[in-house]
Structures are given as structure tokens and as C-alpha cells.
Symmetry: C2
Subunit: 358 residues, 2 copies
DNA sequence: GTTAGCACTCATTTCATCCGAGTGCTAACA
DNA sequence: TGTTAGCACTCGGATGAAATGAGTGCTAAC
């Protein structure tokens, strides 16, 4: 069976109505709600067809219809295809965002937490934001300082001024001289290199050079490797978990508990996001926005939810993700808009703060 | 009316039973549950008295009794007074904790998050852990490094090797020489000082010394001040928020939502903890453990909860808090034990890692 | 192809009834 | 005087029957 223009309009009307109310919608409602000027009986016939097509379904006889996952899918695809251009009327709102984002934030950490909050309160769903994943980190420079006789403070500065520090415990005492020499040695050898570029031959050359301090050099190199690698571990910020209580279909005790737990634990989310980051590279769908309806996402505790994700891009392979988790009857339009704008905002805010403003 | 030994035993029996079941408990149950060998009728008489004393109450006629807040209070006070000594039989459990805590943790942040997790999963309630609040931070040393022509990396090391870094943007370019000189100047002037000790005269002397770089010195001193002050902002880690769904009296949609929201937002908790840290200095109650039953705590969304908190002490005025939030029918004994042991564990773990092991 | 009409379905609401856990009180007992 | 048995009473919760009404599918007419 072909899906006619009229059928789609009816489907859309059903979905729109259901998004608002969360209640199954009947033929009479549609008959009035649309400008199709059709009687409820006609609508019923069409609905019967739509049901046969698998786009809507009845919770039980004598109830109205609700959209099926396929129905949502058709609706979302259609929406994404038609209205991908019209983002301008939200300009003011965006300005607010920008000031909110840049206002009094001095750490990326806080910034991202704020983004999550913003997104959650804007949409009334739960939100997720990840730190950017740095695909190829380069060492900008490294600095060793003695803080105590047997403790070495290691400050490691990566590309884009990402700074990390570790304290290294030594089993022997070092003179200031030696520390200075090591600083020089390490910086000369390693600066500007990514983790992959610090290959074995380089390292063994360094070791040889270090002489009796070989052990310490080893420890330091290990530390650097750990730090760079550690940046691969996404950090996840969530917000608005309690928004799910606004949607009865998600707020029964067990479902809500599982869902909030997933948001709290973050590990599962992290995996999901990593996948999403990787997979998106290939399947560039609609402006880099992906919509997972119901069981289209792989997280078991979220089978009753829809998830909308986007990646933000900071250039040079640094990409993170932002996402929304809500009920299947989500206001996809609004969410997609919000995410879309935030995606670009975030890209520019984070990039601006690293480079001179244009 | 005086509360006799027997009355207390009955009260205790009621509470114990209610902690387990969450159901109002009747006279017949008590008659069998205790070894008092009294008929249900006698118990009823006593219960009537206990109710008159305000220690228990009836949800409605023809229901059993449940403990009132006052009842819990009496029970908790009694418990704290009698059994404060017997902590030894938990020794094994503690060992597990210790390894769990020290295992693969390299940052205090992660450690504290783990503590929260541990506490939550041990008790089946929600847990809160704060970072230690440093009452008097001293500057150990400061180090400036040029990372880009107009960007200065400032590494600030405080007492106990707390390390913070900031990037300072400059409006002029500095030569390596000048940076070196500034390093020396700042360190000579400020090392070992607390924020209070960096008084105005000291700062203006520094400024004078800086000559044309006065502006930069100002910025740097501001940054230092900010960092030290910033350490006052407790960070709060929570875990096990979803445990509250295990207790029907807390898991109705609105209550749960509000409660979890409070845990998620953290701001309210932070205030509460700061208060608790301050107030505890004066009122050293039972081993530094405080129990707030029902509306004894000031947080509106937690009026149906009990909160048990303790402070952990790292010496030299560094104190943080750990806490448990659960239903009023909380297993106070177990919670108090868990918190008590964790309190000391935490003190020693965090202290060990800063000092040579004994 | 559209619509009016009608019989039918079934979740939800309402209402009355029943059940039983638990109480308070009284009277008898040790 | 304290304890206990007995009994009438209360009231929340469970059970089930009946009423309600939103919504459908089908048929027949337009």
C-alpha cells in the first residue's frame, strides 16, 4: 500500500496530538484538529490503513491510536528532510545561550555542566554532554618541578593548552641540577609529538641518555602516556534526570529508577557516546544529528525512550557529543533545533576561548 | 509519665520491626516478637502510654503503631550512648574497604566518588561525600611558564600538594627573562603564606617592585587569591540516588523527583554540609556523628528522610563530610557503623598518600 | 469516495460489600 | 495492683458488579 499525502497528514496530526497529550487519539479528534474537513468515519478508514502499514497502533480495541516506532521514524525523517534550513527565528534565544555559556565560566568542566543544565531546562528532558575526545593529542611541553625531596610535580601541557598534572614519587632524591637536565632532555625529545609518535626507538634513546636515572625517565614517560591516553576517557555530564517524572509513561517506579541509574552511572552512556562518535564519522545523516527512537538505541534501560544526539566539533579531530533523552513522544522539532544550535554554539565558544577572537 | 525499662523495650521492638517491614506494627506481633512474655492486651496498654508520650503514633484507628520522630530520636540516642565501643567485629569488612579505596585511584576526585559509591552500595541508601574544606590554605609555591606569546601558564601548589593551574591571558608579550624574574619575585614574597597573610602592604611592595609589569603582577595575585578561595567551594559527590526507590514511603513520583533533584543539584547539599562542618566544631556529639531525623534537617525536600553525617579529618584544619540520606526507618545501627568506619578509613587513606607510610 | 448511523468493545470509574488486622474497654483473675 | 481474656467497634483495603463513555468497525446510503 502506498502512503498518500492525506494519510501522512493524518499520521502527522496523530503524532502531534499524541506528543502533547500522551493519550491515544481518536478519529473524532483528528476530524476536528486538521483542516482536512473529513468526517471521523473517513478518518477511521484511513487510520485502519495506517495501522495496517504499521505506522500507528491501538493499545487495545476501543482505544484511540498511538504512533508506532515506525510512525515516529517516518515523521522524524520527514521533518529532518524538510525543515533543516529554518533556524533563524531562534536567533535571540541563541544569543542568550551564548552569554550564559561564556559568562563566568573558567573551566571547561563547568562549561559543559552548564551546557547540560541549559539543555535540560530548555527542553524538559534529560540531557547528556561529553567532554571532547581528543583523537590525536600532542605534547606541547612538559615541566618537572621538585615539590618535596622525593616528589616530582609533573605538569603536562597538551595541544590546545589542555593541562594535567601528576605527582611522581621517587625512590631516590634528585638534585635541582638533575631535574633541570631532565626537563631539557624530555622537552627536546618529545615536544610536539603525539602518543603514536613516541615510539620505542625514541624512548630507548632517551633512556640511554638518562644513564643512572633511567628508572625515573621510565616513570615519567609512563605518566605522560597515561595522561594522554587518559584524555580518551570521556567525562560525562548529565542534567535534568528528574525531568522524566514529567512523563507518566516513564515515571513508574522501576523504569524511572533504572533510567536515572543509567544516567547516574554514566558508564553505559559513555560507551554509547563513543560508539556514536565513531559511527557518525561514516554515516553523516542530517546535519550530524542522530535520532534513536525506542529500541533503535542499544541501551536496555532506555528502550522506552528516544535519544537525540549530535556531535560538536572543535576542529583538529576533537569531537564531543551532546544528547537528549526523553520519552518517545518527544517534541522532536524543538529538541533537534535546540541541539542543533547548541552544537554550533559550543563549537564556537570552545574554539574562541582557545584562539584570539575574530 | 516516666518511661520504664519495659516501655523502652516495647518501643525498641516496634522500631526494629518497623525498620524491617515498613508496616505499622500491632500489639500481637510485639507480644510474640519480644521475650517479655506479655499478652497482646498488656502490650496494648503500654502502647497506649507510649502514644501518649508521643513516641509512637497510629496512621489511623485500627492500624498498628509506627515510631514518631521523637521515638526514633530516643532510640538513636540510646543506641549511640550504649554501643559506641563495639566496632571490632567489622574488621574484615573494613579491610575490603581499604583495598577498594586505594585500588587504582590516582586522583582525590575519583577516590571520593568511589567512597560515595561504596557507601551507597553498602547501605542501600543515597550517599553524599564532600571534598575537604581547607580552612587555612598556604601557598607552597607558584610557577609561571609561557605557553604562547601572550599566555602564561600559572601552576599554583598549595599545602599538601594541592595543585591548580590557570592560564592567564596577557595584553603584552613577555620575554623569557621577565617571566623568570617574576617567578623568583613571587616565590620569594609569597611562599608559605596563607591568603590572610598576603596583606595589602605585601602586595603593594610587590607591585612597586614589578615596575612596568604591575598590571601583570596584579592579575597573577588575583588568580592566586581566586584559586585559594576557590578551594572553599566544596565539591559534592553523590551516589545511589536510585536507592530511594527501594522504600515505598519515598518513592512516590513527586517526592522521589524532588529528592533526586536535590541530590543532582548539589547546591543545597553543599550549604547543608558547610553548616554541618561549622556547627560540629562546637557540638561534638557522638564520635562526631550527627543524626537528623525527619524535619530535624533543614532541607525541605528531605523532611521525610533521615540524614546521618560525619566529618572526616585530615588534620591541619582540613575537614570534609560524608553522609547518608534515607528513609526515617533507616537501619541506624548499620549506617552509623558504616559511616564511622569510613570516616576513619578516609582520614587515614588520604593522609597516608600525602605522607610517608608509617 | 465520503458519510451517517449503529452495534459492539473494553478500560475506567463508581459504588456497595466484605474482610480482617488492630484497637479500646470492661470484667475477671492472680 | 498488674495482667489477661473477651468482645464490640473502627476503618483501610480488597473484591466484584454495574455504569460510563470514548472509540472502533461495519454497513448502507449519498
Amino acid at each position: 500500500m502506498e502512503i498518500s499525502e492525506r494519510k501522512y497528514k493524518i499520521l502527522e496530526a496523530i503524532i502531534r496530538n499524541y506528543l502533547e497529550t500522551g493519550e491515544p487519539v481518536g478519529s473524532r479528534t483528528i476530524s476536528k484538529y486538521t483542516d482536512l474537513n473529513l468526517s471521523s468515519a473517513t478518518i477511521r478508514n484511513e487510520m485502519s490503513d495506517l495501522e495496517e502499514l504499521g505506522l500507528i497502533l491501538q493499545p487495545h480495541t476501543s482505544a484511540g491510536r498511538i504512533p508506532s516506532d515506525q510512525g515516529y521514524r517516518l515523521y522524524v525523517d520527514h521533518m529532518m528532510a524538510t525543515r533543516s534550513m529554518e533556524l533563524d527565528e531562534r536567533a535571540k534565544e541563541l544569543e542568550d545561550m551564548k552569554t550564559f555559556l561564556t559568562d563566568k565560566v573558567d573551566k571547561v568542566e563547568e562549561l559543559l555542566q552548564n551546557v547540560a543544565k541549559l539543555l535540560a531546562s530548555n527542553t524538559n528532558y534529560a540531557s547528556v554532554v561529553s567532554t571532547p575526545k581528543l583523537s590525536t593529542n600532542k605534547l606541547k611541553f612538559i615541566q618537572l618541578t621538585k615539590v618535596e625531596p622525593t616528589k616530582l610535580l609533573t605538569v603536562i601541557v597538551l595541544d590546545r593548552n589542555v593541562i594535567r598534572n601528576r605527582i611522581i614519587e621517587l625512590d631516590q632524591e634528585l638534585s635541582d641540577d638533575v631535574v633541570l637536565k631532565m626537563n631539557l632532555m624530555l622537552n627536546t625529545a618529545l615536544n610536539g609529538l603525539s602518543l603514536e609518535q613516541m615510539n620505542l626507538s625514541l624512548v630507548s634513546a632517551l633512556r640511554a641518555q638518562a644513564g643512572e636515572y633511567e628508572g625515573i625517565i621510565n616513570t615519567i614517560i609512563d605518566t605522560i602516556a597515561q595522561v594522554i591516553a587518559g584524555e580518551d576517557n570521556l567525562k560525562i555530564y548529565t542534567s535534568g534526570a528528574t525531568n522524566i517524572f514529567k512523563y507518566p509513561e516513564l515515571s513508574d517506579s522501576t523504569k524511572a529508577s533504572e533510567l536515572i541509574n543509567t544516567l547516574e552511572e554514566k558508564q553505559v552512556l559513555s560507551n554509547f557516546i563513543v560508539n556514536s562518535l565513531d559511527s557518525e564519522e561514516s554515516s553523516e545523516t542530517h546535519d550530524g544529528i542522530q535520532v534513536y527512537i525506542g529500541n533503535e538505541n542499544s541501551i536496555s534501560t532506555m528502550q522506552d525512550c528516544s535519544v537525540v544526539t549530535a556531535t560538536y566539533d572543535l576542529g583538529e579531530g576533537m569531537r564531543g557529543a551532546i544528547g537528549i533523552i526523553g520519552p518517545k513522544r518527544m517534541d522532536y522539532e524543538k529538541v533537534v533545533d535546540s541541539i542543533k544550535s547548541l552544537k554550533s554554539q559550543l563549537g564556537s565558544v570552545l574554539t574562541d576561548s582557545k584562539e584570539p577572537p575574530k
